[in-house]
């Protein structure tokens, strides 16, 4: 890619945070993601929906190179973050993951105190120069995670002792503590009860003010509630990608329509 096209592309994708072009993912011989191109906007919530095994989680994990940890996984095509190829040889996935945070399906706090859970990321990235700054980051992150009021009196209690919903919000707070630009969420509510789900969804809506959020979800209602853009995946293909309202009211592809009306998947 020469400089000229780079600039052109940057102009063309104003407000585009992540731009994926012709992405192919293989697990050994299995072709898991087939030629997917997606533009993810900044400061929006983008939802990936689709039946189980359609590749939406796989694609999400490509965006911060979590698939690197799987030996047999191979990714082709370009994924640009602010116009820079994240699969470039010079990119260190560790640095990338500080910019592109991730929240997982099952709440997975470290078996450490609530404070240490949040402080771990800032510590390893050297975001705080002293204890006071670190305390500040921890408080700010917990507030953003909408969990501060519940845990402020027991910051040194183990994070694993919280309820499922609290654990997931702790994980979200942990992810935002490193000041990422993009937040990836892989079915963040699938292990939570409806009340906790509502809390997390509310939180996602707030996070949209400062981050670009990409969420994978099995619940179409959830996608409709929280996202502005929705992508429908089916059998490794990106079938349709448009504004959420359009996908849920007037889908173009018959497969999308079948899925959201509950006929496939």
């Amino acid at each position: 890619m020469n400089d000229m096209t780079k600039i052109e592309r940057a102009l063309e994708m104003k407000d585009m945070k992540i731009s994926a072009k012709n992405v192919q993912v293989y697990y050994g011989d299995t072709h898991a993601i087939k030629d997917v191109s997606v533009e993810i906007e900044d400061k929006t919530v983008t939802a990936f929906i689709g039946p189980s095994g359609c590749g939406k989680s796989t694609f999400l994990r490509c965006l911060n190179r979590m698939n690197d940890t799987i030996d047999i996984c191979r990714v082709e095509g370009d994924i640009l973050l602010d116009g820079e190829d994240i699969y470039d040889k010079r990119v260190d996935p560790v640095q990338l993951r500080a910019k592109v945070g991730m929240v997982f399906q099952k709440p997975n706090p470290f078996p450490k105190s609530i404070y240490d859970n949040i402080a771990y990321g800032p510590r390893i990235h050297g975001l705080a120069r002293n204890k006071a700054e670190l305390d500040e980051i921890v408080e700010k992150s917990l507030r953003r995670g909408a969990i501060w009021d519940e845990v402020k009196d027991r910051l040194h209690a183990p994070g694993t002792g919280l309820s499922g919903g609290q654990q997931q919000r702790l994980c979200i707070a942990r992810a935002v503590a490193t000041e990422p630009e993009v937040l990836l969420m892989d079915e963040p509510c699938s292990a939570l009860d409806p009340i906790a789900t509502a809390q997390v969804e509310e939180l996602i809506d707030e996070l949209r003010q400062s981050y670009s959020v990409v969420i994978v979800t099995h619940s179409m209602q959830q996608a409709a509630r929280v996202s502005q853009k929705t992508a429908f995946f089916h059998l490794g293909n990106l079938v349709e990608y448009d504004d959420t309202t359009k996908i849920f009211t007037n889908p173009e592809d018959p497969r999308t329509e079948s899925y959201i009306t509950g006929r496939i998947g």
Partner: protein, 454 residues
């Protein structure tokens, strides 16, 4: 069910297709019987195991407990100046020139005096016969005392001297008058004297600290033999094993489990490690002989070499258990750490390793315990059969100077002819088992302490 209901069908009025849950049908009865049988087999198997364990432990304790008691003869010995320091200068060099032969008459006199005091007639014409009741090491004990305290020459000092192994055996019931008929060391007459001395309180059994702290003795002095020095040899070996096997084993497992790419080379290594865990330990012994002694010219019979050989033997055990405990750390923890931007190494050292710690420590201690009880590899590097008669001078000497190990010492005693050593071998096994039990208890405590939920 169906048979019964067919017979009573009309009266009961129950349709044959419907069955009562209050009545067991044929199939359920059969399954229950099978289950009961299986349970009985299990209980029988455990019972057999327990019986063997009880037999084993009780026989070890019954046979070995004697080694912790020893017969002593308490004598007031007059340290005659005329015998020990003729010049009267208290010159330590001159005192050292007096050999144990010079001390024997003193013991003889003291014994005669004690017998006289107790009113026991001396049936022996020669004093030498009388001395046979005492260990031949008794004179050496006396000499050591005098060299350490030359100013006591001329005084009368009370000594607790070791009785000979025959006298000890008589008091423990191992030696009888009949068994002495063909014995050239002691005669039944001696035993009469011993009986009288025992009544007078001169000869008595007491706790045998020397067995736990002492060094092995020559074949003719079983009463003096102790396991202390070889215990130290085992300790030095365990230090070498711990210092080598733990870091190498843990580093190898972390690399293989977390960093190594999955390909045929790592598969090959994996298979080989599993195989090495099952290799007979004597193979490691001959490897140690070839590599450490013949090639690297490390000293023979040294705990350093023994420790290195046992390290080789223990490594597969540690690697396998460490990998298993690394594997048992849930992948979600790794993902969480990678997700906040931790590097692979930070993930492993900050999150995975602490969670795997209890398993690693348990595996290491079990490996150490296995190494502690191992004898076969020590055969080939000369640690079996070597008799260290003194404690090593320092820490470096402890690693480099020839020594034995506890299991090797036990084997050495078990093969000696004198039945007095038989008891020592069993006693040694008790000490070894106490060590192993202590290590296993430490493993359990560590596991409990480090265990964390996630």
């Amino acid at each position: 069910m169906s048979d019964a209901s067919l017979q009573n069908g009309p009266e009961m009025g129950a349709p044959t297709t419907k069955s009562s849950i209050l009545q067991l049908d044929q199939r359920t009865k059969k399954r229950n019987a099978a289950e009961a049988r299986f349970r009985a087999y299990g209980i029988a198997a455990i019972a057999v195991g327990l019986v063997f364990l009880v037999v084993l432990i009780s026989s070890i304790i019954f046979k070995g407990v004697g080694a912790f008691q020893q017969s002593f003869i308490t004598l007031d010995v007059e340290l005659l100046e005329s015998k020990l320091d003729k010049s009267g200068e208290r010159d330590i060099e001159k005192i050292k020139k007096v050999t144990t032969f010079g001390y024997s008459p003193l013991i003889e006199n003291a014994l005669k005096a004690a017998m006289e005091e107790a009113g026991i007639e001396n049936p022996f014409a020669k004093g030498k016969d009388l001395r046979k009741m005492l260990s031949s090491g008794a004179a050496a004990d006396l000499r050591r005392f005098v060299i350490a305290n030359p100013d006591r020459i001329g005084d009368t000092v009370q000594f607790r001297l070791l009785a000979s192994s025959r006298v000890d055996g008589y008091l423990k019931g191992r030696v009888t008058r009949e068994s002495l008929a063909r014995d050239k060391n002691l005669t039944p007459v001696h035993l009469d004297v011993v009986d009288q001395l025992k009544d007078a309180g001169v000869v008595a059994k007491s706790f045998n600290l020397g067995f736990i702290t002492g060094a092995d003795a020559s074949e003719s002095r079983p009463e003096q033999a102790g396991i202390g020095v070889s215990m130290l040899g085992s300790l030095y070996m365990m230090l070498v094993v711990l210092a080598c096997a733990l870091p190498i084993g843990v580093a190898a497992s972390i690399y293989l489990e977390e960093f190594a790419p999955q390909n045929w080379i790592t598969d090959l290594i994996e298979v080989n490690i599993s195989n090495l865990a099952a290799v007979p330990s004597i193979v490691f012994g001959i490897l140690g002989l070839a590599v450490f002694i013949q090639f690297a010219h490390l000293p023979q019979s040294a705990p350093l070499v023994g420790g290195l050989v046992l390290t080789l033997m223990t490594l597969p055990t540690i690697i396998i258990s460490t990998r298993a405990s690394l594997k048992s750390v849930p992948p979600s923890i790794r993902e969480a750490a990678l997700g906040v931007g931790a590097s692979k190494m930070q993930t492993v050292f900050h999150h995975v390793l602490p969670l795997a710690m209890p398993g690693i420590l348990t595996g290491t201690i079990i490996g150490l315990a296995q190494a502690l009880g191992e004898t076969a590899p020590l055969l080939l590097i000369g640690m079996v059969g070597y008799i260290a008669s003194n404690y090593p001078g320092g820490i470096i000497e402890g690693f480099m100077s020839p020594n034995s190990a506890m299991p090797a010492q036990i084997y050495e005693w078990a093969k000696r002819a004198d039945p007095a050593y038989y008891e020592r071998a069993w006693g040694g096994i008790i000490i070894l088992l106490v060590f192993l039990m202590t290590m296993n208890i430490i493993a359990i405590i560590l596991r409990r302490r480090f265990e964390r939920r996630w």
